[in-house]
Every structure is written in C-alpha cells, then in structure tokens.
C-alpha cells in the first residue's frame, strides 16, 4: 500500500495511533538529549543559563580540579570494563554451557542463575554492604573462623579492595544475563552439526572449541557491546555503595558519578557546574557511541554464518 493508496480514514488513524508514542519520545528523550548537547556550550550560574561559552566547558574539564578526577574515573571505568569482560563473560559462558549439557533439572538451574538479575541494585548493594561489613559481616567472620585472620579486610572501606569488591558484587548480580544470552546462542546452533561431528569421532571439547564457540560469535558481539555500554555508564551500584563521591577516597569514582556531582552538587559542596557536567555528559556519550559502533563493526566481521 503506498501513501496515495491510503484512504483518508486510514491516514487519520495512522496519525492518531502514531502521535502518542512519537510525542512522548520527542518531548522526554530527543529534546532533552539534544539540549544536553547545547548546555555544554553555555556558561551556567547554578541552573541559570548565561552567555555562549564555546568550548570553555570542555577546556575546564581538562584543567584543575576536574582533570585529575576525570582521568581517575576514566581509569576506573576502563578497569571495570576489562574485569567484567573477562570474569563475567567467561563465567557466563561456562554456566551457559553447563546448562546446555544439563538436560535434567535445566529449568531449575536456569531460574536460579537468572534470579539476581531481577533484584534492584539498591537491595543488592545494601545486602552486600552488610555481608561485607568489616566487623560483624558474615564474610569476614567466616574468614576469621577458618583461621585466616590476615585475609579479613574492610572490603568496601579500603581503597585497595573497594573497586574489586564492587566488580564482584556486579558479577553476582549480572552473570545470569550473559549466561542466558549464551544459552540462547547455544540452543540456536543446528544440532546436525554437533551430531555429524560426534559421528566423526570428535570429542565434546573439540566440538565446543571448533564448532560451538565460533558459532557463538553473535552472542559474544551483543554481550561485549552491552558490557562496554554498561561499564562506561556504571552508576547505580557505585552510587548505592560509595555515594556520589565514590568513597572511599574516590576509589570507586566513575565518569557517571562525576557527571552526577557536577550536575547536582556533591555531598561536601552544593555548588554545581552544569556547563562542565554537560561537557562531560557529551564526552561519555561519544565514548559509549564510538566504542559501541566500533565494537559492532569489528566483531561482526568475525561472525560466521551457520
């Protein structure tokens, strides 16, 4: 049906049914997103917009005191991305393969694996904060009971262990997600390939390495890109546990936390920097956008057709 082929009544319906969705997205997503972009190019007094500022806000982001914060936060986001990519993806793949091999009881184990994903990060964060409490927390008590007192640490309170501890909590909450995506990928593989390989005498290990793993490339692409986006917009968990300053002593600071502090002021100073914050917002958007697009481009090339 072409535009001219539509009856007048049909055109009326098209407009009436499309408008609510389009208007909502336009007013509450598209316009604010474009406005963020413009905010970065103005001077700001609190929430009052001043004159045009050119690239001054971007410049200030790379001067004292923001520069050090920015690069430290960027380093944390990068480390978190690498850690999650290695730990969460390999563990997710292991669980997915184990689920795939497990015909009996698969449903129960799959339900359990995915359970933490439905938990609110507020609940997850507070729950682990108590579990990892330095004095009365069950984890340190368990370590002490085992006679390993020297290993009992103030996990979330020390600058050396806070970020790794957050990565661990993130792993607990998220690993079910890549596991389910990989399981869907494994289930999508044509069983005939596997049967044929088995008849030819291939071992299960060979089948996994030579057939299944290459055919999982599309799942790997999706997980890598979602992990990248998630890691560079990491906010909820560090905010719940370390507050907007990324405590202790900025050890868990991230780009998104810094963006929040610049936008709304931090605990120790209420003064906000809307201009610099928006410049940072634009930079985060560029990092995530370019990273995701590049990942899509390079990883897609390695995918093989079934």
């Amino acid at each position: 049906m072409t535009a001219s082929g539509l009856k007048r009544s049909q055109r009326k319906y098209i407009a009436a049914l499309l408008t609510p969705a389009m208007a909502t997205i336009l007013v509450f997503t598209t316009i604010p997103a474009l406005t963020t972009l413009s905010y970065a190019f103005f001077k700001w007094e609190g929430f009052q917009r001043g004159g045009f500022a050119g690239f001054v806000n971007f410049q200030r982001l790379f001067e004292y005191p923001f520069k050090d914060q920015f690069f430290m936060a960027l380093r944390h986001n990068t480390l978190v991305f690498i850690a999650i990519m290695i730990l969460q993806t390999s563990l997710g793949l292991l669980i997915a393969y184990a689920l795939f091999r497990m015909t009996r009881g698969q449903r129960f184990f799959r339900t359990v694996t995915f359970l933490p994903v439905i938990f609110s990060l507020v609940v997850v964060g507070y729950m682990w904060q108590v579990l990892l409490d330095p004095y009365y927390g069950p984890i340190n008590m368990l370590i002490n009971d085992l006679g390993l007192e020297s290993l009992a640490k103030p996990w979330l309170g020390s600058t050396a262990t806070a970020l790794p501890a957050l990565v661990f909590i993130n792993l607990w909450r998220w690993v079910g997600f890549p596991a389910i995506i990989f399981l869907a990928g494994l289930n999508a593989i044509n069983q005939e390939y596997l049967e044929a390989a088995r008849i030819d005498g291939a071992s299960e290990g060979q089948i996994f390495r030579k057939i299944m793993f290459p055919l999982l490339a599309p799942s790997m692409t999706i997980i890598s890109i979602l992990t990248f986006i998630g890691a560079f917009e990491w906010f909820d968990l560090p905010f719940v546990i370390g507050g907007s300053n990324g405590n202790p002593a900025g050890a868990t600071d991230t780009l998104a936390l810094m963006f929040y502090r610049l936008s709304f002021g931090s605990v120790d100073s209420n003064a906000n920097e809307v201009g610099v914050g928006s410049a940072l917002g634009v930079l985060i958007f560029i990092i995530v956008g370019v990273g995701a697009a590049a990942g899509q481009y390079f990883l897609r090339k390695h995918e093989v057709e079934q």
Partner: protein, 275 residues
C-alpha cells in the same frame, strides 16, 4: 582439559556451586529479616528459629513503607499503561502499514534507544520544573514511558509484522474499521509481545532509584527503592529491621519471578536475543 568436557559431573558441579552462590545471600537476606539484631554478632548465619516478625511490623509502621509501596505500584502501573497503549498504536502502524515516512519514523524510534536517560537528566530536570511536573508521579511516569517506548515499539512492531496480512483484508471486507481491526483481531494475537514489553519495561522501573532521587522531593511521593535509601541510613545499625525492609522491597518481584520465570527471562533479554 579434554577430560573435563567429557565429564557431566564437572558441569553439574559448576551449576550446583553457582546455585549455592546465588541462593546463600538470598537466604541470608530472608533469614536475617526474622532475627534479633543483637544475635548477629555471635553468629551471622544462625537460623531464625524463633522468628521475630516484629521486624516487619516496625518497618511497616516506622518506614512509611505502605506509602512507598503504593507510590511504586502507581508509578510502575501508570507507566505500563502509557507504554502499552502507545506501543500498541505505533507498533501496529509501523508494523502493518507501508507508507512514505515509515522508515524515517522507525529510524527516529531507534535513535531513542541510543540515548542513555541518565545523561539527559539535567535538561529533563529543568524541563519538568518548567512544565510543573517536578516532584510529581505524572512527570516520572512520562519520563519512564519515554525511556521504555523505543524498545517497546520496536518489539511490538515485530509482532504485528509477523501476522499474516490476510487477516486485515478479511476484517476490512467484513466492514471492520481500522480501530476494530486492531482491537478485535490483532491485539488478541500479539498478547505474547505485550507480555514481553510489560516485563521489559516494568522491572527496571520498579527497581529504579535514580530518577525518583532526582525528581521527587516530598516524603509522601517517594517510591520504594528511593525510600529504602532513606531507611538504610536510619536503621544502619539495626540489621534485623534493615533486612526486613530489604526483604519487603524485593519480595514482590521475586514472587512474580518464581511464578513467571520463563516470561521474565524472555522479557528481560528481549533486547539482546533475536527471534
């Protein structure tokens, strides 16, 4: 390495260990909700043999949890109604009509999926203030709906496109209007899609604390996860009550998940799995 792959035992052990790692903290959460705070110091894992239900009573009376829960239900439910109505309309049009501008509108919707809501928070804040929608559930519902709609329209249009076009023609020949066609013929057939959209949208909204934190100020407007952040500060040293609060906040979704786990898994991975 090779031996490992041929052993079913190893993979069963992986799954059992994983289940243990998942369930132990969850069990700790529920068990601790029924314990007296003083008893934690001696043994944090002890079973709550004589359950202290008064922890829940205290949460309910002190924490204004009833108000928080009501607000969360209102915001999540309201957003779902807006999302489903808008996504049904737009998904129907984009999935079943071939007209000039269809592709452009689709592209517009897809760009909406690329915008992280958190980065647009400042203009949204100022815009809501200007629209008199700050500290209001309606403002929050509209922002949540807008965030979920691009994916929702995308998913719904896929379901509408998959239905045979003979259905439309038959209904039209029988004299049905477009709205009757949608309401009486097509909507009953895209119910599985609506379930996916509902779960995909509702869970992040129910679990979110960030937008309420920025947009809602009045205590009587706060949502459950936002209320929990206040509550945690107040009861930081009273673990029994604290865990009762966390349990109350987590229980509604856990219960639903245990009943509808297949739909939950499908719904929450809808953006990542094709087909």
């Amino acid at each position: 390495m090779i031996a490992v792959f041929s052993s079913k035992l190893f993979f069963r052990a992986v799954l059992i260990f994983n289940a243990f790692m998942v369930l132990l903290p969850v069990f700790f959460l529920f068990n601790s909700a029924l314990r007296e705070t003083n008893s934690f110091a001696s043994n944090p894992f002890a079973l709550a043999r004589d359950p202290h239900w008064e922890n829940f009573q205290q949460v309910w009376s002190d924490g204004e949890f009833a108000t928080y829960l009501k607000n969360s239900l209102l915001v999540t439910g309201g957003s779902l109604v807006v999302i489903l109505i808008c996504a049904l309309g737009a998904g129907f049009i984009l999935g079943r009509y071939n007209f000039k501008g269809n592709t452009a509108l689709f592209a517009f919707i897809l760009t909406g999926m690329l915008v992280p809501a958190k980065l647009a928070i400042l203009p949204l804040f100022i815009q809501l203030k200007w629209m008199n929608l700050l500290d209001s559930h309606i403002g929050l519902i509209l922002v949540y709906s807008s965030g979920a709609l691009p994916a929702a329209v995308f998913i719904m249009s896929g379901f509408f496109r998959a239905l045979p076009s003979d259905l439309d023609n038959a209904a039209r020949i029988d004299g049905a209007s477009e709205l009757q066609l949608l309401r009486l013929v097509l909507i009953p057939l895209v119910r599985p899609g609506m379930a996916i959209v509902a779960i995909y949208s509702a869970i992040p909204i129910w679990n979110d604390f960030f937008l309420p934190l920025v947009f809602l100020q009045s205590p009587e407007n706060k949502t459950i996860m936002q209320g929990l952040t206040v509550f945690f500060g107040q009861y930081a040293s009273q673990w029994g009550v604290l865990f009762a609060g966390l349990t109350l906040a987590a229980l509604p979704l856990i219960t639903l998940y245990l009943v509808l786990s297949e739909q939950f898994i499908k719904g929450l991975t809808a953006g990542a799995v094709k087909g």
